[in-house]
Amino acid sequence: MGALLATPRGWVESLGTLVKFFGRVVGEVLGLRVLRFFGEALRQAGILILSSALVIWSLCFIIGLQCGIEGAYFNRSVGSPAYAGVFAAWCDLRELIPYAFAYMMAAKVGTGIVAELGSMRISDEIDALEVMGISSMTFLCATRLLAAWMVLPFVYIAGIGVGFLASYIAVVQQIAEVSAGGFSLIFWMFQNPPDLLYSLIKAMSMATIIVLVGCYYGYNAGGGPVGVGTATAKSMVVNIVLVHLLGMLGTQVFWGANPRAPIGG
């Protein structure tokens, strides 16, 4: 019986450790102790913009094309090609742009954080920070979270714009069964500013979790280079699962009870 319970007990312990770590890092940011290293936070923000924004927008563009193409062909098949914008609007803003953003965040930023912090851990750089009298958790983790909060809302909103543009290109220019004006009328009718806000909240929750998971697995990496590799893989698995859980919850909370669609008056 004890052996049977050992595995779930281990999971619960790991979850508790994870949540405690998240709490400490978020506390360092909200408690403003991170501002002591604001320069480092700005440096991390710069790294995020320069190294990740373009790949995130690229994936958003592809996903936007996909939503547009899918919407156009589906609506044509049911005899309402003019309504392709409905599908594109919902697909882009509510579901796939947040996922595309989160996938690329997990793949590029999350794994990058694990690899960087993990290699710092195994080469004693984190211990070196500590013995210099610097809180390594604040310097390494809280600054990354603050940088993500400063930069990613803008990156994400720009990503939505890129996705919208791609959907427009797919529906109006590529498949071309609806005029630009007709597409825009329907497209904008099926979304409004609160939807944008909800989408932003959804994506930022995902981004926060991705950064925290990356920090956790990197900061606590051990076992040499192999251990860092294992931690990177684990972080990716955890991030993908958590991203989908957050996506599902966000859809349920923001659009479940009220789909916010101008249908039936």
């Binding site: 004693d124 750089e125 070196a128 500590e130 009298g133 610097i134 809180s135």
Partner: protein, 327 residues
């Protein structure tokens, strides 16, 4: 308890009779003195100028594995760092097993011992990166494990630590690595920081490598750069974790010479962890021999090199025959 000026001998539990002459002509400790010794040090007792001999408590059950651990600690003056009956285990692996050790102020101390005996664990206890399961670690008389986080970070500013591979930050060049503690902990302007950094880098022979990234440096250069960074805040205590690992004998000798020169110039307590006897002969002023998580013997370097303890003698002369085997 009996006090001698510099060198005290006491047979440990199960220790074989001392062979031949008494090195240094020191009077042996009498049996009644040993029996009169307290079994364990009192953490609250003043440590400065402590009595010449302290003895580790006899291991429970009288197991043979500690038969060479006399626990003799020759009086070496005011301690900078003290370990008081420290126990530390990682899972079922017991690393420190009742460690009592005192490292003197103002000298270059070496902690010597075979691989895997807990030398690096000792360093991590000194700076509060690890806490003992039992016992206490004192730095300048203050208990490290009982410090609040803020006090601990403040206390760590007393330390400079040279890690095995230098532990330079991979994202910064050499100049920024060395300047980093100054930028974080002082209000100095960039000009003043530049002067200090250039001086420290020149001292370690890296004056012209300011712009190099850590991955462009050799192992020896990384260690020297780590040394420069460790010194940049003028710490009271400098810790070296195996500074000779991965270096050829000539570069090891040069690094030892550098350590000695900089200690002569700056003073403070330097603690070097190593298992390289040649380095010990070159720079050590005080030696503690650690094995199986306890001190076998500790004292001024000359006294240890002349010790009649079979383990110490074997280890310090790198002999094949003796208590230490491959196990």
């Amino acid at each position: 308890m009996t006090r001698f000026d510099d060198d005290v001998r006491a047979p440990g539990p199960g220790e074989p009779p001392a062979p031949g002459e008494d090195p240094g002509g020191v009077e042996p400790l009498r049996r009644e003195d040993i029996e009169a010794d307290p079994p364990a040090p009192d953490p609250s007792a003043p440590s400065a100028g402590a009595a010449a001999v302290t003895r580790e408590p006899a291991p429970a059950g009288g197991e043979d594995e500690f038969q060479w651990h006399t626990g003799r600690q020759h009086d070496s003056g005011k301690p900078a760092i003290e370990f008081i009956d420290v126990h530390k285990a990682f899972g079922r692996n017991r690393i420190l097993r009742g460690l009592n050790m005192s490292l003197p102020e103002g000298r270059i101390s070496m902690i010597l011992g075979p691989s895997g005996t807990g030398k690096s664990v000792c360093i991590k206890h000194m700076v509060g990166l690890l806490y003992p399961d039992e016992g206490d670690v004192l730095v300048h008389g203050e208990s490290v494990p009982s410090m609040a986080d803020d006090d601990l970070f403040e206390m760590r500013k007393k330390f400079g630590v040279l890690f095995q591979d230098g532990a330079l930050f991979g994202s910064m060049n050499l100049y920024d690595n060395v300047a980093f503690p100054l930028r974080q902990h002082t209000d100095k302007g960039e000009d003043e920081i530049g002067d200090i950094v250039n001086r420290r880098l020149s001292e370690v022979g890296l004056g012209d490598a300011n712009d190099k990234m850590p991955n462009e440096l050799s192992g020896g250069m990384r260690k020297r750069a780590g040394f420069a960074r460790a010194l940049v805040l003028d710490p009271d205590i400098v810790l070296f974790d195996e500074p000779d690992s991965g270096l050829d004998p000539v570069r090891t000798a040069l690094l030892c010479e550098l350590i000695q020169e900089i200690h002569d110039e700056n003073g403070g307590a330097y603690v070097v962890i190593t298992h390289d006897i040649a380095s010990a002969r070159r720079v050590a002023e005080h030696i503690s021999v650690l094995w199986r998580g306890r001190i076998v013997e500790s004292g001024p370097a000359q006294a240890l090199f002349n010790s009649d303890n079979p383990f110490v003698r074997q280890f310090l002369s790198a002999e094949v025959h003796g208590p230490l085997g491959m196990e």
